[in-house]
């Protein structure tokens, strides 16, 4: 190694400066580093700090540089704070653009020319997701992820119809508290509220446990609060990390009184917002929202009042109408009833008149028919009787003639009979009679030979004597 001889320290510094300038003057570097020993001179707007790299999981340093941000660099940091809601302070990891500068008295310094907002946002978001997952995991009964939304016990609480007793978690003397208090007290509707402030620090993760403790104070207070409001706001709003803190998220999610957040975060939604019953942007909005809530109740009252009034007036009109209608109906029906009865009476009268005239008339016709029938009948009867009589007379005439004729015929029979059986007829047929001693005899034994007797034949008497007698056998 060549010896350059003895030189003044400043000469060395100049030579180093020369080398560094040759090597780095045109270059800028994006480096990932942690911030420590940060101071911010507000008047000059100078940031002084150190950028370090540690062994992961320990505090052992691997690299360390002094750093500063002036002018445009300081402006970049202010913009960063504004965009991320993250204060540029110790113990944050940043992706930062630096120039390497050398100064004889300050040695090597990194001059900030820019800072990557997105890198820090990513880191914050990553942390946030881890916290949310842990909340869900460790409080499964009270916190659940449902789709992209988070359900919490607090969200499931019902707001009372009217909110009057409010516990307010905020920083003492903060602009947020003043805004909230002012808006509440001077509401245009004259609503009165009981505001119970519970002061606590609302920035810096270190205050998370204190805030949690204040919440427990609220829970244990003898007053039954309608709502807990967590607010911060006014002034420079840079550090919201407390509202992404696990302890704060957990106590909000599980709190038995509805929680409203109004923490003035313009960009992101914090875990506290996600866990709370309601979240609004600012303390003033929180106050307005509460006033609106009460206002809605009052409007409900007014609506009910209007409905009742309207319906009652309607009902009275309807009832009056019903009465009028009933009166008209009763009137009409009464008239109709009377008219019906009149008609009915008239019809009955007409029928009675008609029938009253018809009945005697019909009887007249009946009697007239009877009379005609009666008067014609005797002549017919008498004529028939006459005919009978004539018939009888004719019969008698006929029968007596027959009678007499029959009698004559019977007599004629006897006349001819007598003629036939008389002795004269017999003699004429050739028979003869024997008369002996003056008497007609029929016994031949009475006569003996020599006896004298007469025989009568027809109209002659023959005197004879018996000469002989012998038997006669008819042949």
């Amino acid at each position: 190694m060549p010896d350059s001889g003895t030189i003044r320290l400043s000469q060395l510094a100049t030579r180093i400066e020369q080398v560094l300038e040759d090597a780095f003057s045109t270059m800028q570097f994006w480096v990932i580093a942690d911030v420590t020993n940060h101071t911010h001179k507000v008047n000059s707007n100078y940031h002084y700090f150190e950028l370090v790299e540690k062994v992961p999981g320990s505090d052992k340093l691997i690299a360390k540089f002094s750093a500063k941000a002036w002018g445009s660099g300081a402006n970049e940091l202010a913009l960063f704070e504004k965009r991320t809601g993250q204060k540029f302070t110790n113990n944050i990891q940043v992706l930062i653009r630096v120039r390497v500068q050398y100064h004889a008295t300050y040695s090597i310094q990194l001059d900030v020319t820019g800072i990557d907002t997105n890198f820090t946002l990513g880191v914050i978001e990553q942390q946030r997701q881890i916290t949310l997952e842990r909340l869900c995991r460790e409080n499964a009964k009270h916190i659940q992820k449902r789709g992209e939304e988070y359900w919490t016990r607090n969200k499931s609480l019902q707001l009372p119809l009217v909110i009057q007793r409010i516990a307010v978690v905020c920083a003492k003397d903060s602009a947020g508290w003043q805004d909230f208090h002012h808006t509440m007290e001077n509401n245009t509707y004259g609503y009165r509220f009981e505001l119970s402030p519970y002061f606590t620090g609302v920035q810096g993760e270190a205050n998370a446990d204190a805030m949690r403790k204040r919440m427990l104070d609220i829970f244990n207070a003898p007053v039954k609060y309608d709502l807990v409001v967590i607010i911060r706001g006014g002034g420079a709003q840079t550090d919201f990390l407390i509202f992404d803190h696990y302890a704060v998220g957990q106590v909000i999610a599980r709190f038995p009184i509805p929680v409203m957040t109004g923490i003035g975060h313009q960009k992101n939604i914090t875990i506290a917002d996600l866990m709370a019953h309601t979240s609004v942007k600012t303390p003033t909005k929180a106050a307005e929202s509460i006033i609106d809530h009460n206002r809605r109740f009052q409007e409900l009252l007014l609506t009910v009042q209007q409905n009742i009034i309207m319906k009652v007036q309607q009902g009275l009109v309807v009832r009056n109408g019903q009465l009028d209608k009933l009166r008209a109906q009763v009137t009409n029906d009464a008239h109709r009833l009377i008219s019906l009865n009149k008609d009915s009476l008239y019809e009955i009268q007409q029928r009675i008149i008609g029938q009253g005239r018809a009945i005697p008339f019909q009887h007249r016709i009946g009697i007239s028919n009877l009379a005609a029938s009666l008067l014609s009948q005797p002549k017919i009867i008498l004529a028939a009787k006459r005919k009978d009589l004539e018939h009888n007379a004719d019969n008698i005439r006929y029968y007596q003639a027959a009678f007499l004729k029959n009698r004559r015929e019977y007599l004629n029979y006897y006349i001819s009979y007598v003629k036939n059986v008389s002795p004269e007829s017999t003699l004429k047929r050739g028979f003869a009679m024997v008369i002996y001693n003056g008497k007609i005899i029929s016994d031949p034994d009475l006569l003996n030979t020599g006896d004298k007797f007469s025989v009568i034949m027809r109209d002659k008497e023959l005197l004879t004597t018996l000469q002989n007698k012998k038997d006669y056998n008819g042949s």
């Binding site: 005439r397 007499l404 059986v421």
Partner: protein, 70 residues
């Protein structure tokens, strides 16, 4: 003629004589007498018949003189 014998008596006797002769209950010596009696009875009957007929005709002719249908 017997004045007081009726037609029916006369006719009955006639019938009896006929019956007697029919069953030859009459001797020849009486026959002539019976026949004579029958002849008389017939005459009586005829007379009575004639008389009745005359009377009846009179009555009928009177009936017919009366107008039955005036």
């Amino acid at each position: 003629m017997e004045a007081d014998i009726t037609y029916e008596q006369a006719y009955a006797e006639l019938k009896q004589i006929e019956a007697d002769i029919q069953r030859e209950a009459v001797s020849v010596d009486l026959l002539a007498i019976k026949i004579k009696r029958a002849s008389d009875l017939i005459a009586i009957c005829q007379a009575k018949l004639q008389k009745t007929e005359n009377e009846v005709n009179n009555i009928i002719s009177q009936m017919e003189k009366r107008p039955s249908n005036s």
